[in-house]
Each structure stands twice: as structure tokens, then as C-alpha cells.
């Protein structure tokens, strides 16, 4: 017995037991400080038929929080259910509600993926916040039975030139890299976006993809009376206990632990070992049910496992290995210490389970077992401190129908479009605007960020940033693999959240198709302001509806995701930012279509029609600091057709390069495709101008959707155009790849050299953050 645990025993004589709770019904409890509403506290009392113990109060308060219970958002998820058809469900092996969704990618392979937010911790402590964001989503993927195979990080920051961005961005990027690199997971994409609205509230979202054989899917459930409940991985410490300190201060007056950080601290090495250990455990088939410990720690893991199972659970909390022996039971239940998992194991397989953990030097402790009762019972040195129906904690939390109201400012905002702004007309003016856009924070080269991530580890990366999607191989024999892209334009969502969410979906869908993959399913990370603001709640409802109905039209199901509310500074909410991750499948990822052209003589086609759609786009943002009007028109039928064209073209070898048109329009896409390998192009715009009834400026900078540029080998040109014509895909020959042209020659307008393009594109981030 160590001296520290002895001293803690001396200091904390009293533990609030179920017996105490029955005997002292009038005892005042700090439910307000724990964030519970009066009716919620009353409901707990009704469920239990007595006041909760302080440990039970801790569990309910954290599990009924917005973060864990989705109490404000849940009612809107009916849109997802209502819009998922049987046909969409066909490929869905596990849907919304589990740790992560799972889709069937063929040949017996299953892929799981999910995106989550870690916004608030990353603002407080950028490095650890971002690092543990990666750690958390990776454990979600692991707990489905999968080997994690890649990560991606959609990141949003305030103004590039604001001093606080200098604090937040380098820390976040180093944290994502520091954790992910050390885990040995390739980081294959994501986003880096700057907007003043994220100044006090950066968005740090993390996505992970994992793969397994179909029969290896594991679920978070505790079944089989007598099966052992095992906590394994890191010891439990006092990190991330935040609000529960109010309970701690109530239960012991003196000698309590010092104030602890509310942000968790990550140890990627411990997680790497845990991954390999889990995979060995799965291979040995010794795991019956498994759950990771993330938000709400043991409170969540025990109640969810028990709730999903068919019996009860008994846990001896004093058996939990501690990093800090002075921790009180309430704190142990709420601790968010990282790198921990919980497994349910048959007694006959216990020895093998423990031997595998020992081989990896992973500490594993039996802390309880599955019972034939219906309650989750937790004891502390023999005294019962929790005795609850687990479902009431994990799944039957409060559900709010929050008021929602279309914001009053929206009409004026939508009427304030870009039509009045002077547009460039001469070639020189167009060129100057292109270079200004290329150097702007959102369109500039992001390698200062992405070069800090290992994109090669595991040896299966077929494409990574800055290509349109990250692509990784799953099956080493056949080359079968997946493509993933995440996207969202919060500016569009601010102008129209329904359309904005669909535009995010459309862009991610298009990016996946652009590399040649067939889109299969989506995950979403819904970043919004306060749900108590009816305007924000209206944006949320609109966005969810937009995604759900958009998914139905595209035929891709939502597999799960995450809601992050309260992203605001004072009364000012961020732009609604529903980040969409789309996953697609390819038979052989070695055949993927990259974004840059290489081969002189290949013909450049623009697919899709261009309308005068500058509102909310990067040209208005960069040149005029303006946000107003209506976002580009959503054309999901157009996206679907375009997707089919791109997938077929890739399969049949009809295109060698393809690049999606989004922020900054055709001009920026041409520049990026040229810069990728330093091979130039000659381009002509007259035919498109005439066909679409627009001027050169609009062709170059409009952000109309459902468009890509492709490079087609001459030998395949007829087959390619025949396919477009037969299927009704709008297409125009707008140029040719030409290594004799230095940069891009837009005929009749301007020429811009590689050096000019490169200088504009690459200098921006190093100028702010150093080489």
C-alpha cells in the first residue's frame, strides 16, 4: 500500500452511498453547478425513487450533457431516419448510434469512419486539445473491431493575421501531427480554412477511417451473465474532470486534490500500443463486447455497455488503477483520461486476454462482471454508490424541442449580393485577381500545415492532400480501397443553411468521384452556435434537413457523426459549419485519378455549366471582404451524373487527371492543376462564354457547382466525348496541356508564368508562421 493512498483514505472518510441517499432525501445537491436543469434533476429523482448519490449525480449530469446526450439535436435526427431508404441501407452494416458507422465495401471488407469535434479544448490548449481529438476518434474506430488506416483533419481558424491565430494554429497543427504521426496513421486530407467568425472559436474536427473483415465487426454491449468487465490501457488520472470538481469540493472539505486541467493530456505511444494490443485481442477472438473511454469516461462506458446488453453490470470502482490515488469515486467515474478501453470477456478466455495485454505491456484489470439483473451497480470498497437502470443514464436522457426561428437578418443578407461590385474586364485585371486569390489564406498552398503530417506510413496511401480526396488501399492483394473527402463552406451555410449543407455534401461527393471512387456513405460534424438561440437552432434544423434530403437524392446514407453546439463568442455564433465527410470505394486504388496534369498534348475539358454565381464566393471574400446574397444553386442530379462520368472515365482509363471546381472557381482549379507538376496549359474560354452566356470573368471566378476539369489523352478523346454526349453531360474542350507554355496562357486574355503562380501560391503561410 503506498503512502499516498493511505493519506487519501484518511482525508476522505465519507462516501455518499445509496443507503445514505435513501436516508437523507432532503440533502442539498449541486445539480445547478453540474449543469442540470431543475426538471432534469427531478427526473433523476423520479427514475430512482430517491435522491441520487453524488456518484449517480455525476454520471447523470455528464451523460445528460449536450455533448453526450444530443438533447437539443436528437429530435432533428428523424430527418436522417425518414430519408434513409432500404436501398441506401443495403451497404450499411452498422448505422447511427454505435461508436461509428460501418459500410460494406465489397470482397468481404467492411470500413468504418467517423468525424468528431474537439473545438473547445483546442482553443484552451491547442496542442493537447487537437492531439486528444485525434486520439478519441481513433479509439472510436478501434472499438468497432477495425484497424485504423487513416486520419483527416478539417480545421478552421480565425483571421490569419490575428495574433491569437499565431497561438492557436501552430499548436493545433503540431498536436494533430504529434499524435497522429506517433500512432502511425497516415493523415490524408482535411481542410484549413480561415474566417473571422472562428477567431474565438476555432473548429478542430478529426476524422478516422478503419477497415476490417465483415465478420470482425465488434459492438459495444455487455452480454452473458458472469462475463468479466475489463478496463485496460492507461491508468485513470484527474484530467478532463472539469465540472465535477464541484462534487469533489462537496465530498471532502480538506486535503482534496489540487485543481486539475480540464483538457485531457494525450500519450500517443500508449495509444499505439493499445491499437496493436486490441488488434491481437480481436484476432484471438477473446473480446465479446468493447467500448472506448472518451467523453464521460467510465460513466459512459459502463452505462452504454450495460444499456446495450441484455443484463446488468456490477463494477468495483476501487479496483480501477489510478494515476492519482487521491481521486474520489465521482472523479474516477467522470475522468476523461485518454488511452483507455473497456472489454467484456468470457471467463474461459480471460487468461488469453490477459496474456495478450501483458505481451504489449498494457495494464488490464477485471473491475466487474455482467449480472443477470437489470441494474448497473457500482461499489466503492464494498459500499454501493451507484444503483441505476443503465438505459436511463445512457439513452433515456432529456429531449428538447428547442424553439427555432428564421433569423431576422437573413432577408437583408440575402438581398445584399455582389452584383454591384465592379468586375475586372481586361486580361491584366483578371490575372491580378487570380494571383490575389491564389495568395489568399483560404486558397493558398497549405503544405506548411500538411507537411507536418506523415501521409505515407502504412504504405497504402495512393493520394493525399492537396489532391481532391485522400485515397488508401484496404486490400493489399487486389488494391481495393477507399477515398475520403471532407468539405464545408460555412459562408454559403450562413447565407442559406439548407443549401449550404447540401453544397458541402455536393462538394465532398464530387471530390470523391473526381479521384474515381464511387461515393458510398457520409459522416458529418455539425458545428453550430448555441442551441438556446432560436436563430441557431433554425440553422441547425435547416442544415440537418438539407443533409438528409440531399443524401436521399444522392443515394448515400448517413452513418453517424457528431454535433458540436455552443461554438460562439459572447452572443456571436460562428457561421453554421456542417462539415461533411464522404467515403467512396474503388476496385483498385492504384488507378485513382490525381488532380495535376503531366502529359503534354492531353486535352482539357470543363464538365458542367457555369452560371453567374459569385455571391458568398472567394472572389467576393478576398477582393471585397463581402458576404451576402445567395449561394450557388444546388444541383444534386448534376452531381450524380458528373460522378458517374468521372467514375466510369477512371475505370476505363479515359482521363489522366481531374480536379474539382469549388472555392475560387475555374481560375484557381487551373492554377492548382498546373502547379501540381509544373506542367503548363493553353486555355480558351470563348466557347463556354458563348454557350453559357457569360463573360470571361464569370467563367474564371464563378463558383457554380457540379463542375470539374479533366485532362483526356488524345487517344481516348472520342470515347470520352461520346460518353458525355450519350449521358447528357455538359462538356466543353477548353484547353490543352502544354509543356512549352510557361504556366497558363488564357488565350485572348492573359498569360501567367509558373513562377508567378508559385510565388503567389506558396508564400502566404510561411510569411506568417516562418519557414
Amino acid at each position: 500500500m503506498s503512502t499516498t493512498s493511505q493519506s487519501s483514505t484518511t482525508h476522505a472518510p465519507h462516501v455518499d452511498t445509496v443507503g445514505d441517499a435513501g436516508a437523507t432525501p432532503e440533502h442539498e445537491q449541486p445539480w445547478v453547478e453540474l449543469g442540470l436543469k431543475e426538471d432534469e434533476y427531478q427526473r433523476i429523482r423520479d427514475i430512482l425513487g430517491r435522491r441520487p448519490t453524488s456518484a449517480e449525480l455525476a454520471m447523470y449530469s455528464v451523460m445528460w450533457s449536450e455533448h453526450c446526450s444530443y438533447k437539443s439535436s436528437k429530435v432533428h435526427f428523424k430527418h436522417f431516419a425518414d430519408n434513409t431508404t432500404d436501398e441506401m441501407r443495403e451497404k450499411l452494416l452498422v448505422g447511427i448510434g454505435e461508436n461509428a458507422g460501418v459500410v460494406d465495401i465489397g470482397d468481404g471488407w467492411a470500413v468504418t469512419f467517423k468525424v468528431e469535434s474537439h473545438n473547445h479544448p483546442s482553443y484552451v490548449e491547442p496542442y493537447q486539445g487537437a492531439a486528444t481529438g485525434v486520439g478519441g476518434i481513433v479509439r472510436d474506430i478501434m472499438s468497432m473491431g477495425a484497424r485504423p488506416i487513416a486520419v483527416m483533419d478539417p480545421l478552421r481558424f480565425g483571421n490569419l493575421n490575428h495574433p491569437d491565430t499565431q497561438r492557436v494554429l501552430p499548436g493545433v497543427v503540431a498536436g494533430v501531427g504529434g499524435y497522429g504521426n506517433c500512432l502511425g496513421l497516415p493523415n490524408i486530407g482535411g481542410e484549413v480554412v480561415f474566417d473571422d467568425c472562428y477567431q474565438g472559436n476555432p473548429l478542430v474536427n478529426a476524422l478516422c477511417v478503419g477497415a476490417m473483415r465483415r465478420e470482425d465487426i465488434h459492438l459495444a454491449k455487455a452480454s452473458g451473465t458472469g462475463n468479466k468487465v475489463i478496463l485496460f490501457g492507461a491508468k485513470t488520472g484527474g484530467d478532463g474532470i472539469g465540472g465535477v470538481s464541484v462534487l469533489a469540493s462537496e465530498t471532502f472539505e480538506e486535503g482534496g486534490p489540487a485543481k486539475r486541467p480540464a483538457v485531457q493530456v494525450g500519450d500517443p505511444f500508449a495509444e499505439k500500443v493499445l491499437i496493436e494490443c486490441c488488434l491481437d485481442l480481436y484476432r484471438a477472438k477473446v473480446v465479446d463486447g468493447i467500448q472506448d473511454l472518451g467523453g464521460a469516461g467510465l460513466s459512459c462506458a459502463t452505462s452504454e455497455l450495460a444499456s446495450n446488453g441484455d443484463g446488468g453490470m456490477q463494477v468495483e470502482l476501487d479496483l480501477v488503477p489510478l494515476r492519482d490515488a487521491s481521486l474520489r469515486p465521482e472523479e474516477i467515474l467522470m475522468s476523461e483520461s485518454q488511452e483507455r478501453m473497456m472489454a467484456v470477456v468470457e471467463p474461459a478466455k480471460l487468461d488469453e486476454f490477459m496474456a495478450i495485454c501483458r505481451r504489449w505491456d498494457v495494464e488490464a484489470t477485471v473491475i466487474g462482471e455482467v449480472t443477470d439483473g437489470e441494474h448497473l451497480v457500482i461499489t466503492w470498497h464494498g459500499e454501493v454508490i451507484v444503483d441505476v437502470p443503465p438505459r436511463s443514464v445512457a439513452h433515456d436522457g432529456p429531449v428538447y424541442h428547442r424553439p427555432l426561428e428564421r433569423p431576422a437578418y437573413l432577408d437583408a443578407l440575402q438581398e445584399n449580393g455582389t452584383a454591384a461590385f465592379a468586375r475586372p474586364t481586361t486580361g491584366d485585371e483578371l490575372k491580378a485577381d487570380l494571383l490575389t486569390l491564389l495568395a489568399s489564406p483560404n486558397l493558398c498552398d497549405k503544405s506548411w500545415v500538411t507537411d507536418q503530417y506523415d501521409r505515407y506510413v502504412l504504405g497504402n496511401t495512393a493520394l493525399a492532400m492537396p489532391d481532391d480526396s485522400g485515397v488508401v488501399r484496404v486490400d493489399e492483394e487486389t488494391g481495393r480501397g477507399v477515398a475520403v473527402s471532407t468539405d464545408c463552406n460555412g459562408r454559403f451555410a450562413k447565407l442559406d443553411p439548407y443549401a449550404g449543407a447540401q453544397l458541402a455534401l455536393a462538394e465532398a461527393y464530387r471530390n470523391v468521384a473526381t479521384v474515381g471512387a464511387t461515393p458510398l456513405a457520409i459522416t458529418d460534424c455539425l458545428n453550430f452556435g448555441s442551441p438556446e438561440d432560436p436563430g441557431v437552432m433554425w440553422q441547425f434544423e435547416q442544415a440537418v434537413k438539407g443533409i438528409a434530403e440531399g443524401c436521399r437524392e444522392l443515394g448515400v446514407p448517413v452513418t453517424g457523426g457528431n454535433v458540436s453546439f455552443y461554438n460562439q463568442t459572447g452572443d456571436v455564433a460562428i457561421h453554421p459549419t456542417p462539415v461533411i465527410g464522404v467515403l467512396g470505394v474503388m476496385d483498385d486504388v492504384a488507378r485513382r485519378t490525381p488532380s495535376g496534369w503531366k502529359t503534354p498534348g492531353q486535352v482539357i475539358y470543363l464538365l458542367g455549366a457555369t452560371r453567374d454565381e459569385l455571391d458568398g464566393g472567394e472572389w467576393a471574400h478576398v477582393k471585397h471582404g463581402h458576404l451576402g446574397g445567395r449561394p450557388p444553386r444546388v444541383d444534386l442530379a448534376g452531381e450524380k451524373l458528373l460522378g458517374e462520368i468521372l467514375v466510369n472515365a477512371s475505370r476505363d482509363g479515359l482521363v489522366d487527371a481531374a480536379h474539382d471546381l469549388s472555392d475560387g472557381g475555374l481560375a484557381v482549379a487551373l492554377a492548382e492543376a498546373t502547379l501540381r507538376h509544373g506542367v503548363g496549359a493553353r486555355v480558351w474560354l470563348e466557347e463556354v462564354c458563348e454557350r453559357d452566356g457569360i463573360d470571361a470573368f464569370t467563367v474564371l471566378f464563378s463558383e457554380s457547382t457540379a463542375r470539374v476539369v479533366v485532362a483526356v489523352p488524345r487517344s481516348e478523346e472520342v470515347r470520352f466525348t461520346d460518353m458525355c454526349t450519350a449521358r447528357g453531360q455538359v462538356h466543353a474542350r477548353i484547353g490543352v496541356v502544354d509543356d512549352q507554355t510557361d504556366g497558363i496562357d488564357v488565350q485572348g486574355q492573359f498569360g501567367v508564368t509558373l513562377a508567378e503562380l508559385g510565388e503567389a501560391h506558396t508564400g502566404t503561410l510561411p510569411a506568417v508562421f516562418g519557414e
Partner: protein, 227 residues
């Protein structure tokens, strides 16, 4: 031909190294850090990663792993050993190679496709290259700056033991602050080679920036077969 690939806790590129061995027709053999047993292999690769979390100092703890008790004397006796990235760090910590690897001079992790010049095409791991050949290989590290005292550096240069150098454009600088642009070195016998870049990520069409990693593995295959 059997090539051992050591897995320490925290090794990351062990599967990639095994794949590269298979790609040239060799048989990869997994070696466990805790077993003092080389399982009769003909050569050994110490792969990239963060062995034991690289806590304390990169490679400093791995050096004391039981498998190293067998590997160090075997390497001194002529067993071909290739240390990639973290493996290179383990080799310097084990004193099989001189010098040390320190934090990149720009203080960031850096993942780039880098140009290397082959300065010594006579080692066990580089005989399939041409002397002076330039290759493109993945580089990814946070602590890849090769340092040594002047005398050691002069000795390495004088004895032709600099195996790879970063190709640095006029007026530019190498990717991690390595002294004299050194990317890889060898021991006196030429059987132990360590380098920061990752040849195992450059062995398959469609994955990685080139196929310039293959000669590392064909070199060792020929060496072992002819030995």
C-alpha cells in the same frame, strides 16, 4: 533469403519494411523486441517509428531491448543491418554508427519527397545504385538533423562512409539541418547503413513518389545470395 524486421513497441513502418522485402522476393521475418533471438536471419532492418514513444531521447530506450543484445554483436560481426529513420537513431544510440540525430533545425515534423545523391554505392544496401545517382525518396521526421564533431565528420568523408547526401538547390538548405547535408552513413565494413529517409515507402507503383527504394532491397538480396 530471410530479412528480419524488428518491432519495438511504437515501431510504425515495420509492416512497410516487410512489404518492401517481399516486393523483391525476400522473406521478411518478424523479430520481437523482447526476444533475444535473431531467428537465423540473413539481414536485419530496424524500421521507422517512435520506439517506446521516443521518450527520453529517440532510440535511447530501444538500444536496451533484448533483441539488441543479439543484434549489436552480430552487426559487428558483419550481419547486414539497415536502420531507417528511428532505426538510424537506434543505430547511433547503440554506437553501431557514429554521430547523433537531433531535432530538425526548423523545429517541426517534416514530411516531404526529398532528392538524395548516392555517395557510396558499395555498401551491402546500396550496391544496386550507381555512384553519384540521384534518387527521390520519402523523408518524414521530427528529429532528423545528423550531427557529429568535426573529426568524425572528416573521418566519415575521408573513408567514403557518407552513403547519402540531400541534394540541396543553390542557395537552399537541407530539410532538417543535417551537418554537411548528410542523410545516411555506414560503418567501416559497409554492412551497417543508417539513413533518415524511407526507402520502404518507394517500392510500389501507385504508392509513394518513386520506385527508388527498390535498389536497397535488391542490393541486400544479391549480397546475401552471393555471400
Amino acid at each position: 533469403m530471410k530479412v528480419g524486421v524488428v518491432t519495438f513497441p511504437g515501431s510504425l513502418d515495420d509492416r512497410d519494411a516487410a512489404r518492401a522485402v517481399r516486393a523483391v522476393g525476400g522473406e521478411p521475418v518478424s523479430l520481437w523486441h523482447g526476444d533475444a533471438d535473431l531467428r537465423g536471419v540473413d539481414a536485419v532492418i530496424l524500421p521507422g517509428g517512435f520506439s517506446y514513444g521516443d521518450y527520453l531521447r529517440c532510440g535511447a530506450i530501444a538500444r536496451f531491448a533484448p533483441v539488441m543484445d543479439q543484434l549489436v554483436p552480430a552487426a559487428r560481426g558483419g550481419l547486414p543491418v539497415l536502420g531507417i529513420c528511428n532505426g538510424f537513431q537506434v543505430l547511433t544510440e547503440s554506437h553501431l554508427l557514429p554521430g547523433a540525430l537531433i531535432r530538425n533545425d526548423h523545429r517541426k515534423f517534416n514530411c516531404v519527397d526529398t532528392r538524395l545523391r548516392v555517395e557510396n554505392a558499395q555498401t551491402a544496401w546500396t550496391s544496386d545504385f550507381e555512384q553519384g545517382q540521384e534518387i527521390t525518396v520519402v523523408l518524414k521526421n521530427g528529429e532528423g538533423g545528423f550531427v557529429a564533431d568535426e573529426r568524425t565528420l572528416d573521418e566519415l568523408e575521408g573513408e567514403g562512409r557518407v552513403v547519402f547526401r540531400y541534394v540541396v538547390p543553390e542557395g537552399g538548405r537541407n530539410p532538417n539541418g543535417s551537418y554537411r547535408d548528410i542523410a545516411g552513413i555506414t560503418n567501416e565494413r559497409g554492412n551497417v547503413v543508417g539513413l533518415m529517409p524511407h526507402p520502404e515507402h518507394c517500392v510500389e507503383t501507385g504508392y509513394g513518389p518513386s520506385l527508388d527504394g527498390l535498389p536497397f532491397f535488391t542490393s541486400i538480396l544479391k549480397q546475401v545470395v552471393s555471400a
